[in-house]
């Protein structure tokens, strides 16, 4: 639409999945009673000092690794000084001068075009407390104060809302798969701000920037950015300008609204945090963290497709980490992964959703699943029969064979029983038999369908076909 080139940079705050807070031993939890997860350190009491949760470093190293960042080996923390009621010490401990990660990238694909989204830096900091405004009062919940965060800042390298969306989806997938964060935007454990500006030519300096704060979902990131591009375009087209500003996305309005015009240069009076000595990251620390990184989503998709899984199924599996992890256990087995993926994403997913379970909460061990796949593959269990015994397969521990036997749906593999059925079908459908003999291939499919119907689906299809062909001779 536009004669302007949009430029977008994204800042993402991600809460790290640690047991305790970054600078105190309070529990890092969500949804607990207000101010129940706090101590004197989180409240910024006089005389208290921060300690440093080692797990935070490990998760930050992990995030930096999967975001292809360089990892700083010697770093310190800084104080960012500003007064705000949600900021208990009225300074936030963050990393300003020595972010743990820098010069990284993630690769995304938008409309079939691959693009590297460059990451400027990634640093560790503490979360503020949560404020709730009630009339003229503001209520403060310090449970969130001191929850560890990483902030990931891209270069101004994106050109559309769709690219930003793809970046955030990729980021979420990576951090979720590596257990860095649960990345729940609705619970605030992942929060995105976007900086948007537009300009006429690549050679022009960047246009005036608007920052869109705390966008509630990844979809809304794309919408709000595109809306903002539209808004800026209209302003420039009408020959006007605007001041650098902070906006927020209003979901009901479906548009961004002005929060405040930015004052000239915030003065956060940064200086090195004297309460925390320099932190050194060793090779050993990095090696130990890298060991814990599982196979990443892109790799999974690639391997699945290589092993015969359809692209659609590969994508679906990766969208569900529990299923994907489960599926990975099968990768080195000599089995039919295509059938396995169909089973997992079909009937089994249906069961899991209905019963609000995860795959590991069922009784389907790897061994039993392999047995099930084999049964499906050699047609000794039909899809229809599977539906009848699925609950048992997923809730009982006996072998699949045993379940089939005791459920009375054992596939009729007895030749004579099938032959009887086949004979009666042939007797009842002389017309189709004529057609077959006249060379119409479709007729045999119809007859086969009748055989399966008469046997209530329990005939082994392969054996039934052989007998049918034989009897038709």
């Amino acid at each position: 639409m536009s004669k302007y080139i949009p430029t977008i940079g994204v800042e993402v705050h991600v809460e790290l999945k640690t047991n305790t807070k970054i600078f105190s031993n309070s529990i890092n939890g969500y949804g607990e009673m207000a101010n129940s997860l706090t101590n004197v350190i989180d409240l910024g009491y006089p005389g208290t000092l921060p300690t440093l949760n080692k797990e935070v470093l490990n998760l930050a190293i992990k995030a930096a690794t999967v975001l292809n960042c360089k990892i700083r080996r010697e770093m310190h923390f800084d104080r960012k000084n500003y007064f705000y009621p949600d900021n208990p010490k009225n300074y936030q401990i963050t990393q300003s001068r020595t972010p743990i990660g820098y010069d990284g990238y993630v690769e995304v694909e938008v409309n079939g075009v691959k693009k590297k989204i460059e990451i400027e830096e990634m640093h560790i900091e503490e979360d503020t407390c949560k404020s709730t405004h009630r009339g003229t009062k503001t209520l403060l919940d310090f449970n969130r104060a001191g929850v560890p965060l990483i902030e990931i800042v891209t270069k101004p390298c994106m050109n559309s809302g769709e690219e930003a969306k793809a970046y955030l989806e990729k980021l979420r997938e990576l951090l979720f798969y590596t257990d860095v964060s649960d990345c729940k935007i609705e619970e605030g454990s992942m929060r995105a701000d976007a900086n948007v500006s537009i300009r006429k030519n690549e050679s022009d300096p960047f246009g005036t920037k608007a920052e869109i704060k705390n966008i509630g979902s990844i979809t809304n990131v794309a919408i709000s950015i595109n809306k903002e591009i539209e808004r800026q375009t209209k302003i420039y087209d009408s020959g006007e300008t605007f001041k650098p500003q902070t906006r927020r996305y209003d979901d009901k309005l479906g548009d961004t609204v002005l929060m405040r015009v930015k004052e000239t240069g915030n003065d956060y009076r940064y200086f090195p945090e004297p309460d925390i000595p320099f932190v050194y990251v060793t090779d050993e620390m990095i090696e130990n963290v890298v060991k814990t990184i599982p196979m990443l989503p892109d790799e999974r998709r690639k391997v699945y497709v290589e092993k015969g899984v359809s692209e659609v199924n590969a994508n679906k599996l990766v969208q569900n980490r529990a299923l994907s992890d489960y599926f990975n256990e099968l990768l080195n087995e000599n089995t039919n992964l295509k059938i396995a993926s169909n089973l997992l994403l079909g009937d089994i997913s249906g069961y899991l959703n209905k019963n609000e379970k995860t795959i590991t909460e069922t009784t389907l061990t790897k061994e039993r699943f392999l047995e099930l796949i084999n049964r499906m593959e050699d047609n000794t269990l039909t899809s229809k029969n599977l539906k009848d015994i699925l609950d048992k397969i997923l809730e009982e521990t006996v072998s699949i064979e045993e379940i089939i036997k005791t459920s009375g749906i054992e596939n009729i593999t007895d030749d004579s029983a099938i032959r009887d059925v086949v004979k009666s079908v042939i007797a009842e459908n002389p017309g189709s038999v004529e057609d077959y003999k006249a060379g119409h291939d479709r007729a045999i499919k119809y007859l086969m369908g009748q055989v399966m119907k008469a046997s209530k689906g329990s005939a082994n299809p392969k054996i039934a076909m052989d007998i049918l062909v034989e009897e038709l001779q």
């Binding site: 006089p46 005389g47 000084n81 009621p85 403060l140 009076r269």
Partner: protein
Amino acid sequence: MKYLNKSVLEIHELLKEKKIKPIDLVEEAFENIENNKELNAYITLNKEEAIKQAKELEDKEVDNILFGMPIAIKDNIITKDLLTTCASHMLENFIPLYDATVVEKIKSKNMIIIGKTNMDEFAMGSTSRTSYFGAPLNPWNKTKISGGSSGGSAVTISARDLPFALGSDTGGSIRQPASYCGIVGMKPTYGRVSRFGLVAFASSMDQIGPMTKNVYENALLLNAIVGKDERDLTSAEKETEDFTRLIGKDVKDMKIAVPNYFMSDIVNEEVKSAIKNTIEVLKNAGAIVDYVDMKYLDQAVTLYQVIALGEASSNLARFDGIRYGFSKENPESIKDVYFKTRQEGFGTEVKRRIMVGAHILSGENAKIYYDKAMAVRAAMRQEFKRIYKDYDLIIGPTATTTAYNQTDSLDDPLKSFLDDVLVNPANMSGLPGLNVPVGFDNDHMPIGMHIIGNDFEEAKIYQLASFIEKELNLDLTPGGEK
């Protein structure tokens, strides 16, 4: 019967032999404090709790030398359930929820906290006159200042109210009042004593230390409060040592440096002459004393102002009227909460220092001033390290003068920084420093010598200090008649 003017060793023996009980000491301490009430050494007394604790101790075994000993705590050290005001209106009614690590440690020795001592507001000052509760008075002459910021602790020890006190030292706040009041005060190596529970002034320099009437007892108290603390990342991992172990050893062949700057014309002649006399005593005992040139020492006050005030502006931001402490009633907005609470809650000197500190860290200033100061600070530390390659200890006067009049220099904010010109460098460099009394001026006000050691060499400082103490054998009881 008086016991508290005896040595701690003697008191300990009496306790052990059950000739006296801890309650006798506690009652005597409160009686002394009552008699010396006009010295204004205390902000809060812990009478009820101290008596209760003393009685509980009667059934317990006297298991260590500090058992049952009364101690006074500077009021910027957090004490659970006991008012901790930092001598500020801001915390006038602040009753903490926890104990500082040092308080836990002295409680574990069954020492008895008698009260919280007066000080400069948030430790900002060198005269204790910025206290919201009025200045303490110097027991040697009540018209003179006590020094500060740990003025109350110095006064109560000097007045012989009780044997032990804790102070804190950011730029000389233990050593300078110790000098003015004629007592022994040690600022340990940065990291030696946990800062957890010390209300922060300048985090990279603050250190808690012991204040006592003599060197041996000072080392005893240091023994009790040191150690790595998991709650303070800047505390140092060190093997336990007995800081009294070198006390009594002679100083023959000890190599001592006297920086020329410390004996330059910034120092009062009477003070210099007391130091020179002491140097002669040391030489006569076989110590090698050399005058040396050291760079950067004259920069200490400037450096201190930049770094300490920068850090202080951030450390004191938490006093905002929201979670604890003073809060201005009926605010109209959040800005109102901040502005009015801090306007009324802080005294003039504190506000002045916060503003200077905030300015120093503001925008480009952070690079111009703070970063530069940190670089010079590192260079100053290297300069000390250079001297310690050849010398065991560095000495000089603790203060440029003796205690001056309560009414002097009230309107000169720079004066209080210049008072600390000789003691600042040890804070800048993280080194341990101690004041030991070495004489009196013509008005019989005490003069102190400052001994600076290499990192973690407190024991060596005590060795030299106790030798001087023994050789000079001064009568350090104010009035002299007790």
